[in-house]
């Protein structure tokens, strides 16, 4: 028998990943929806910042497109205003902007009009020569989700999915409206792009602190042995916002908290917290493990939905002397809206590591403060020796809590019991705190900076794959279906509180309480 061994591609012996920054190839980025909110607040500020830090290739260009008629210069002026306004943690440098602006172009056009794509192609051909972008193009769909499929099919019909270099597409959230529409959208996309060229964005995965969960879990040896059903009592994931819908009531009314946060961001965070260690830290292995975890989440039966999921909607309240409107009083919201502005779900992961450990996820608008964190509540010691109430051997309250703070004040804290000073064996909880910002004084890149560089470099590790998206729709779909057919008695929580009573009751049934973040 003879074995044919494929020669391995020659590794560059001069590469020095410890010191050299990752190389981002030349490319053009086409932003559909360039006049929109996301472009102004996130995409252009991130690209400018990357340019400022020379983290992108000098052979680079941005082509903005939307219906609003604008010249290249008008687009540049508008974007200068937005970037200077929305740049996070960094000053705006006029000189750098001027050279960045030379890389900005605009093609007005309606996505539903096939002629727009011819104009776009012409511009891309020009830029490929003038900016030496090597024919590489990254399309960024930052428009209404209802346009995603049409835009992609038109890109295919006009041959823009092929060229002298690579062609990739970034798709914003929401990816689909439910499981069926997500599957359909995947099918449409695959008519034009290979899965390996599709980058579904979930900006939570791009956050430094979410990436740090993997470093924390798999870079250290002491936590993983405790990271299982033997030691963990429950896990609580909270993503609270203190603001309301801020003028996006129309969009939010259609989405709701479960779709807007839990189906995508928070289920990916749960997957990051609970997944098995990958054998190699690369895109395929990390995403395989995330997908495997999501597939192991128990899909709740319709009749059990009221037991494991709670919907809420905020009503008006006076907070800090200010009158806050209820959701139904927000502009462009239906006064009878049945939208969930709060959602809490109990998930169970049916695998050996996590069987029977509840994962509680809650998210909501107009909660008391803006905070996103993950709390791992460890089990109590088997014998409570020290607390007054538990003297005589009853189980103590659960003292050990590990909190991974995503925002703000990114960091990690561990709560444990310590003896109070003085005579007698009185103990009290204390917290050991690690603050991400002060231990690494450097400015951390924003999620969009990280994700844009990854897409340009062809690294999809932090992007969601078809199977991950479908698995995460699968776990929320029964809840969405039941809620769609339920008439809720909304509003059921006042703005500025931690959500509806039913949510506390959901945890109480398992013998747990929500922590106050």
């Amino acid at each position: 028998m003879s074995v044919v061994v494929q020669p391995l591609p020659e590794v560059n012996p001069l590469q020095d990943p410890l010191r050299f920054s990752r190389r981002v190839p030349p490319c053009a980025i086409v932003i559909f929806g360039a006049s929109g909110d996301l472009s102004k607040r996130k995409l252009l500020p991130s690209l400018y910042r990357l340019f400022y830090e020379r983290r992108i290739s000098p052979s680079f260009a941005v082509v903005g497109s939307s219906r609003t008629p604008m010249s290249d210069d008008e687009f540049r002026h508008r974007m200068a205003d937005s970037v200077s306004k929305f740049l996070e943690d960094a000053p705006f440098d006029k000189e750098v902007w001027d050279s960045f602006a030379q890389c900005l172009f605009y093609v007005p056009g309606d996505l539903t009009n096939p002629d727009s794509y011819d104009d776009l192609r012409k511009k891309l051909d020009e830029i490929e020569k003038s900016h030496q972008t090597a024919g590489n193009v990254l399309f960024y769909l930052s428009t209404q989700p209802s346009h995603y499929a049409e835009a992609i099919l038109e890109l295919g019909a006009h041959g823009l999915n092929r060229g002298n270099g690579w062609r990739r597409v970034i798709i914003e959230k929401p990816f689909g409206h439910d499981l069926l529409s997500a599957r359909k959208l995947n099918d449409e996309i695959h008519k034009v792009f290979l899965e390996s060229d599709v980058y579904r964005i979930d900006h939570y995965l791009g956050k430094e602190t979410v990436q740090n969960i993997l470093a924390f879990r798999f870079g250290n040896g002491i936590f993983e042995p405790l990271w299982n059903r033997r030691y963990v009592d429950n896990v609580q994931i909270t993503a609270a916002e203190s603001i309301g819908v801020e003028g996006r009531g129309g969009y939010y009314q259609e989405a709701g908290a479960l779709r807007d946060m839990i189906q995508n961001h928070l289920s990916q965070v749960m997957a990051t917290v609970a997944m098995e260690p990958p054998t190699i830290f690369d895109a395929t292995n990390v995403r395989d493990e995330r997908a495997k975890l999501l597939r192991a989440v128990r899909v709740v039966k319709s009749e059990d939905v009221p037991k494991y999921a709670v919907a809420g909607q905020y009503g008006p309240a006076k907070v800090g002397g200010e009158d806050l409107p209820g959701f139904r009083q927000e502009p462009s919201v239906n006064p009878q809206a049945q939208t969930d502005t709060y959602a809490a779900v109990t998930f169970f992961i049916d695998n050996w590591r996590w069987a029977d450990v509840p994962f509680y996820i809650r998210t909501g608008k107009r909660l008391p403060k803006r905070v996103t964190d993950i709390a791992i509540q460890f089990k109590a010691p088997p014998l409570g020796l020290f607390t007054q109430e538990t003297k005589g051997g009853l189980r103590a309250a659960r003292p050990n809590l590990l909190v991974l703070r995503i925002q703000p004040e990114e960091g990690i804290s561990l709560r444990f019991l310590s003896k109070s000073p003085g005579s007698g064996m009185r103990v009290r909880p204390v917290s050991m705190d690690f603050n991400y910002g002060s231990s690494f004084g450097e400015r951390t890149p924003t999620a969009y900076e990280t994700l844009l560089v990854d897409a340009m470099s062809g690294d999809p590790t932090l992007y969601t794959r078809q199977d991950m998206v479908e698995a995460s729709w699968q776990i929320v779909q029964p809840i969405l279906d039941v809620w769609a057919n339920t008439k809720f008695d909304f509003p059921n929580y006042a703005a500025g509180t931690w959500g509806p009573k039913a949510s506390d009751e959901m945890l109480a049934r398992q013998g747990h309480v929500w922590r106050i973040p």
Partner: protein, 337 residues
């Protein structure tokens, strides 16, 4: 904010001084009623210097480094003019990150010693390193690095190197043979060594390395390398560059030329049919001609020492590329002008 002179400079006294300093920063917080100061520390950074400014430049650099690498900074200024044989002062380096209300503060200890007291500093430093975090020793004390160092300098240096996780030197104006002997000695004891002469090469190495990302260009095809330098002799940077590029043992030649900045001026790689050339074209620029004839301009001048140290402090462990280049430098040394 800084304390009065602490004498005798025993660890206990210095730590008490630090404690007082934090207490006074805490009072400020109390008055304002909210947390205004965040204490940060990721390592102990010891800097020894014999510069005539009593450690002023070193302190200045440490305060700049703190932003990216918060540390307990310890500056040891060895000077025959020191008032007392050994004395210390503690201070806090604080800064406010852009857009944040809270200041981040790092502690700094300044120790002044007369040369004959230097060997006694070791025990003080042992008591001052932050527990369980890496200890980086940046030796700016030129005298101690010479082969002809005095007995005190030698003992003083040894006392600190034995504490260090990583030792950083700048061999720019040191004789190459001294540098090689020194690094070999420390490496034999399992220390991680960094030489800022190697760090200076990153802007040269990175564009060169990228040329070999594509398969059309194979390093093994290049059988000779010419390096032009501007110093009196090939600096360590020139030698490291040669060492790094000579994985496949090409013929290496060095030539002295006039140029814009000290150090490497040009590197040229030859194969049978192709040439790669990377040369300074001004104090802030260099042009790279790739094997396919493409020309690319890079803007880099002489890097500030803070930038070099920032790069080094980001790497705590072994640097395999440096070690490989250094091993080859030892082989090249006898043939160097």
């Amino acid at each position: 904010m800084s304390s009065a002179v602490i004498f005798p400079a025993q660890p206990e006294n210095i730590l008490k001084g630090l404690g007082k300093l934090w207490t006074s920063l805490g009072q400020e917080e109390k008055q304002q009623g909210k947390p205004t100061v965040l204490r940060a520390c990721a390592m102990t950074l010891i800097v020894a210097t014999d510069e005539p400014d009593s450690g002023f430049a070193a302190s200045q650099t440490i305060s700049e480094l703190m932003h990216a690498h918060p540390a307990r900074g310890i500056v040891l200024a060895v000077s025959p003019d020191a008032e007392k044989s050994l004395e210390a002062r503690v201070l806090a380096q604080c800064w406010k990150p852009f857009g944040k209300a809270q200041q981040i503060c790092c502690e700094q200890i300044e120790i002044t010693a007369r040369p004959q007291s230097w060997p006694n500093v070791g025990p003080t430093l042992v008591g001052l390193t932050v527990a369980d975090l890496p200890v980086i020793f940046w030796c700016r004390h030129k005298g101690a690095l010479r082969q002809a160092a005095t007995k005190e300098e030698h003992a003083g240096l040894e006392a600190i190197t034995s504490l260090a996780t990583k030792i950083v030197i700048d061999a720019h104006d040191m004789p190459a043979s001294d540098t090689v002997t020194l690094i070999e000695r420390w490496q034999a004891r399992g220390r991680v060594i960094a030489d800022l002469e190697w760090t200076r090469l990153t802007p040269w190495r990175e564009p060169l390395a990228h040329l070999f990302d594509v398969c059309e260009c194979k390093l093994s095809d290049f059988h000779s390398i010419d390096i032009e330098y501007t110093d009196e002799r090939p600096s360590m940077a020139a030698l490291y560059l040669a060492g790094w590029l000579s994985l496949y043992r090409p013929k290496v030649s060095f030539r002295r030329v006039g140029g814009y900045l000290p150090g490497v001026h040009r590197v040229t790689l030859h194969s049978d049919s192709k040439t790669i050339d990377f040369a300074r074209t001004g104090p802030d620029s260099a042009v790279l001609h790739s094997a396919s004839g493409r020309e690319c301009t890079y803007n880099f001048g002489e890097p500030a020492v803070t930038a070099l140290m920032t790069e080094e402090l980001a790497l705590m462990g072994v640097d395999p590329a440096f070690n490989a280049a250094f091993a080859r430098v030892r082989e090249l040394l006898p043939d160097t002008p």
